[in-house]
Subunit: 401 residues, 3 copies
């Protein structure tokens, strides 16, 4: 049994795989913060895998003090930020980048963001992630209701993680797990706590997000979550395609109505396009599993997200095929909800609730599709799930903001 000894604290809270190596990078309770830190398979005396894991504290501009964890292996390089809700910044493998180029280039420390600014869209000042959790108190577009502003896309993405733990399995394939705890705790208002988890087997081209949200209060509490997963170049391009098995699709608003004719296909960077959003109900297999993805025009690179419709029954497609500098990007967004303001989601009965002490899990498997074969497999799976079902194309928005 090997144990990594670092200035952190070895956690005993979870029943890990026996003898896993555990490094606590951050622990608010214990006051731990390793700051700039690095390990790799060599240091860990692991010969069966080749990887490194590094945490860096960033400097300059509005990213002063932001932390980024980067996992590097031959399969993928994955960057995520504990300071920004454990969200994924970007992932790269085989020279294919999952992620996009936002006008916001820094990993903005939430200390420099006022989520309420510009009438509740301060979130836009930090948005550049490949995957950002929109939740958990609320998830959608901003709205003033109940005497307050429900700010755009909730607070989780701008909540620094209270605990961050890296675990490396002792045995092959030496799975790496990065856990981060997000606390949305406000006296009288909320006590929603989420253990986020990134699971990655070094060398592979997939990873799993496994989040467990708990209502730690003594009262029932509403929750909402959208996994806002964003892809730009090189996958997104003119003729790139969105693929998913769908029961139905409807336009988010009037502007999206004209996109109903060619919603599965992407335009190239288009001045004045702004964004077009579609609400979808995915089809799934008997276990509730489904998949959605985006592939390039040639069909030889792409990305897919597998998820569980029991956990995340809805899917939003965000086509933001505006110019490159404005942000050329598409969002594939499994969620409990659509992106309407919480007032509409409530009214239409889509907001879920956790009872006191109750937890719920969200698990998504992201894959890089590096070649035509991988793209073909995705297409085959989608075809199978779609089967004989015809996608119901609803011509009118189901709600008006």
């Amino acid at each position: 049994m090997k144990k990594l000894l670092v200035t952190g604290i070895v956690m005993g809270l979870f029943s890990w795989q026996a003898a896993a190596q555990t490094i606590v990078l951050t622990d608010a309770e214990a006051g731990t913060e390793l700051g700039n830190w690095k390990t790799d398979s060599k240091k860990l005396n692991i010969t069966g895998a080749d990887f490194s894991i590094e945490q860096k504290v960033l400097h300059g501009g509005k990213q002063e003090g932001s932390k980024v964890i980067t996992i590097t292996s031959k399969g993928l390089t994955i960057a995520l930020s504990p300071t920004r809700g454990m969200d994924l910044l970007h992932v790269t493998g085989d020279n294919i980048r999952l992620g996009w180029d936002s006008p916001v280039q820094e990993v903005v420390n939430p200390a420099y963001i006022n989520l309420e600014s510009r009438n509740g869209v301060g979130w836009l000042e930090g948005f550049n992630e490949m995957m950002v959790r929109c939740g958990f108190e609320w998830t959608g577009h901003p709205v003033t209701a109940d005497g307050m502003i429900y700010t755009l896309h909730g607070r989780a993405g701008n909540t620094p993680a209270s605990k961050v733990v890296v675990e490396i399995a002792e045995k092959a394939p030496y799975e790496i797990t990065v856990r981060g705890q997000l606390k949305e705790d406000t006296f009288k208002k909320a006590r929603l706590e989420t253990w986020t988890e990134l699971r990655y087997v070094p060398g592979s081209q997939s990873w799993t997000i496994h989040d467990e949200l708990t209502n730690s209060s003594d009262y029932p509490h509403d929750y909402q979550i959208i996994y806002h997963s964003n892809f730009g170049q090189p996958i997104l391009e003119q003729g790139a395609r969105f693929i998913a098995p769908l029961k139905s699709i409807s336009p988010f608003n009037d502007y999206a109505k004209k996109g109903l004719t060619d919603w599965p296909t992407y335009a190239g960077p288009t001045k004045g396009f702004d964004e077009m959003v579609f609400n979808m109900v995915p089809l799934a297999d008997a276990q509730g599993k489904t998949v959605a993805g985006v592939v390039n025009k040639a069909g030889d690179k792409g990305a897919s997200i597998e998820f569980d419709t029991h956990q995340l029954p809805l899917l939003t497609l965000w086509k933001n095929t505006d110019t490159l500098k404005q942000g050329y990007v598409t969002g594939i967004e499994p969620g409990t909800n659509y992106a309407y303001p919480v007032t509409i989601e409530r009214k239409q009965g889509r907001v879920k609730q956790l009872q006191p002490g109750q937890s719920t899990v969200f698990e998504l498997k992201y894959s890089l599709l590096p070649d035509a074969q991988a793209v073909k497999q995705l297409e085959d799976r989608v075809k199978t799930l779609q089967g004989e079902h015809k996608t119901d194309v609803i011509s009118q928005p189901i709600a008006v903001e």
Copy 2:
């Protein structure tokens, strides 16, 4: 004469006890910040007392960079936070904890708080202190008036101290003083500056808060202050009692009216209780001195606060006997004001004013009551102060928010 030499700067601003040892932990003017720092009676060559004083910089979550000073002795352990307005986090002696368990568990750095959020109650995202200063520009519930939001409970509690100085008296009983300067300075709006002071004699079970508020501007300025002092388990329990000599009591709002029958007694943790608030006018001795306290059911542990009704003429009782996870806590809150919005306090003539250059002092003595004898002493004192006076129970709220 002994002098402690540290990388700080020895202050000459105040006429301390001769030869006191003075350590500057923080000084914005000089750019001093000792960060993690510790001393104790041994290091200081003090044999007549046994104590340590430590400053820690916290990490993780929204407490990144927050500082906590902890004084430890056989009498009490006192934790306060320079980053959060020199407020008291918790105090413990004889295994009795003064303080409470808030859903907010971190010592939140104000950099991560927007006091205006949720329509002016952002303060709730950091609230977990045993004693928080609600002031000094304003103190009560939020209200939109004069074209702005007066946010819940003012700004002092979310103002990092500009200077922090620890002083240890040279002679027995080696009183420890922790001073912190809070600046509520806004061009055109306010120049209220407060030197807060915690005075503690090692080994004892009492401490004194001595704050001097100065209007450093050339114009008169309103001020308000409530010392929001909060107690949960183990003192608070079903059958615990609030004790104070009272001229009158009135319900804060309609909800509190039904609490008028048993206001001196506490319920156990009660689902759905939320909070019940009472406005009180305390009785005092000829010098204006009075006391209020909370004791457990058995009457063998408690806490008391002595204060001066010339400085703090009013008293608010906050009964938040909701569930443990929601926050089971009572607030005993001497103040210049009640917790109504500043608009009501103004209208009803309770807002005080400082003239240019004028200062005013607030002094409160907090005591841990470790046994039945100490509780009895409190009860005797309250009886004496109450004397023949009957508490006037006013059935209707004096104002409606």
Copy 3:
């Protein structure tokens, strides 16, 4: 050829003077932050000039983590803050201080400022600079429009610089350049990026601000800028004079109307004066160059600002001759706009626009006037520029807020 080797990164982005010494203090992209840092002419083996350049990270209160760069030479000492938009804090030469004494005494880290607070005047909680850039998305008084608050004086002054570079010319006179990059980047909203530049020849009593603002987005974007340059004692005093060649002057509002009779002269510190603001159109030479300044009563000290009316066609005079503790200060403010809310500036056609990728430059030369001769030179230049023109004194405000 000499090169300074530090842990920073030598920039190759600009075509500097050959063989200049370049030190990167901060670089968000590379993660560079030198923190506390110092160099001087001796260390650099420069014999023909005598100067030092230092960066300090501040501590305490709301200035925790703020950085200040100080250039010291026999001519001037110049302090500026990368954390606060590269703005100038104060400049001193010959015992004459350019700058003023604000009630806000700390170099407030924007992490502690909510620009939207008090209905959009949070900017006042950090304002104490000798020169602050009010821009670039908008510049004037706050207004709620387009469903949002345009906060007082824009965001640039509360934007930490993403890159900070110090350059020292290799040859005499060893000009020092401090560049700082400000990013006003918000997804969907703005991509305005400014390279600010301070140029200073050691030993001299003038410096140049050279800012290049670029619209890095693919869409046209409005911009506004006011260089809010502020002077208090010892130059400002009863009988001090404002000097500039003017085509016209009008009162900003009704209150300023009564100041039209003696606008070129300053009152001493005056209780209840508050602020009086005048809108001016400066006269310039054939190349568009002009100058404005403030001189003391005796006419033996002062400050001047030379600017280009093609870049900055308007001038605001801010007379805030209130009491010393309230802030006794005058602002001489060349700009693209007046200080009215953006709604008024738009309506009256003064808001400028940058096309996609377009840049624009603002250059201002500030001078300390150390003696009667320098003051006389300023007066002569103003007289020449004024020539036969009579200043048109417009009696009514051109707009009402």
